[in-house]
Chain length 135, copies 4
């Protein structure tokens, strides 16, 4: 069984979009992941704030890394996100996972995203299906 770091290295090396987002892996362990990235100009929407898709994407990558880190490939079933505070260009975002539940078939994770002032900017919840395929 591969280690969490080995799995996430495989995942992130092949993950073009996470690279475009400039995602860094701050911490990875079984069921645990912390990521960060910086908001760039091309991530803004028509309100001149980060597009909702940016915080969602950061959270979704965090979900993928946290849930896959046990060694079995996981597939996202359902995810939801609340956008709580506006995110501006240049802000540093940190996504932190919390494993709510993990059974044989499904895992549920909360991902919180904070800015550089430790303010909560988004709250994400994701449910994954755990396949029997090993990494």
């Amino acid at each position: 069984m591969k280690s969490p770091s080995e799995i996430v290295n495989i995942m992130i090396n092949a993950d073009s979009f996470s690279k475009w987002l400039g995602i860094n892996v701050v911490k990875i362990d079984r069921g645990v992941c912390i990521l960060n990235c910086e908001v760039k100009n091309e991530m803004l929407n028509g309100f001149h704030i980060a597009h909702g898709g940016i915080t969602y994407s950061l959270a979704d990558s965090c979900l993928a890394f946290a849930s896959n880190s046990y060694g079995y490939q996981c597939v996202s079933i359902e995810t939801s996100i609340s956008h709580i505070k506006k995110v501006l260009e240049g802000e540093q975002l940190t996504a932190t996972s919390r494993e709510i539940s993990r059974t044989r078939k499904t895992g549920i994770y909360e991902i919180t995203i904070h800015n550089q002032n430790h303010e909560l900017v988004a709250n994400f919840k994701g449910t994954v299906f755990i396949t029997e395929n090993l990494w």
Copy 2:
């Protein structure tokens, strides 16, 4: 009061991330929006399929345009998405809005995303808060 087309032109012209995604506006009217885009290599994740953030972002832009088209600025409160079918590089995605409900304060929209074979790849639901600020 600005027309739906005028509003979406203002929004999309300033929307760097929707431009990066290559989003085209196929149809826009009050509460109605159809968008499309093509999946490029840099939108893929570690499974070599479109990152969940890509379909989310397309749906979230569709939500923003559909809900803002009445003339009042809207802010996303809560959104959820189910990823139903894998999306490959080169696929053509179309996002179509359906207004589930719109009251004085909140609007609820379903956004469905289909590929070029008319297969459903993602189902999104979003709730917006309707502000009193005119476009």
Copy 3:
């Protein structure tokens, strides 16, 4: 393989809470279910309107019957509901299912709840896991 009617008869005969709610099966077929019930005084909350749990429960029963009707037992993974319009004592509620997607492992259903004036009072979305256990 049992028919949709046979399955729902088994389910509802053993379903004490659906009986307490006074749920009637208006229509049942594979992936399709319409239910109704009347809002009674003991279903009200502290605002003198139907408790959110009442419309949720009606929708959740509708999800269970629609998804189980194919013959395989299904287990709810994740459900969400938006409460759109207040529901008063004496109102007649109708829940109608729509199958958004059904793959080998999961099914996604929208359940809409209308009152006797055909006004939408709640919008529900549910994802089920499809087991290999036959009814």
Copy 4:
């Protein structure tokens, strides 16, 4: 401005459905609520486990009490629940709120439901709109 206890007393005294559920208020403070109840035979579904509507209803009451306790009336906008573990007749359920976020207009709460063995049986997330109406 009324105290949290005064508000919840008003709410629960008029709440016929919470009474039917046998809900007890274990703790109430601004943004904080703990409730419990016992699962009775008439709360079971066709699988002989608690109907999903029971844990939803307990969580929804917990959301209502936690969010209204500041003194302003709140209205539920969107709620979601994951059913994690089967709940049997006779089990003692405890719902505990956690305030994820509270701004001037909206509040977001997580409600976790545990059984008497401190096992997580359901995870609920609710978003409320904060009105300007005082209790």
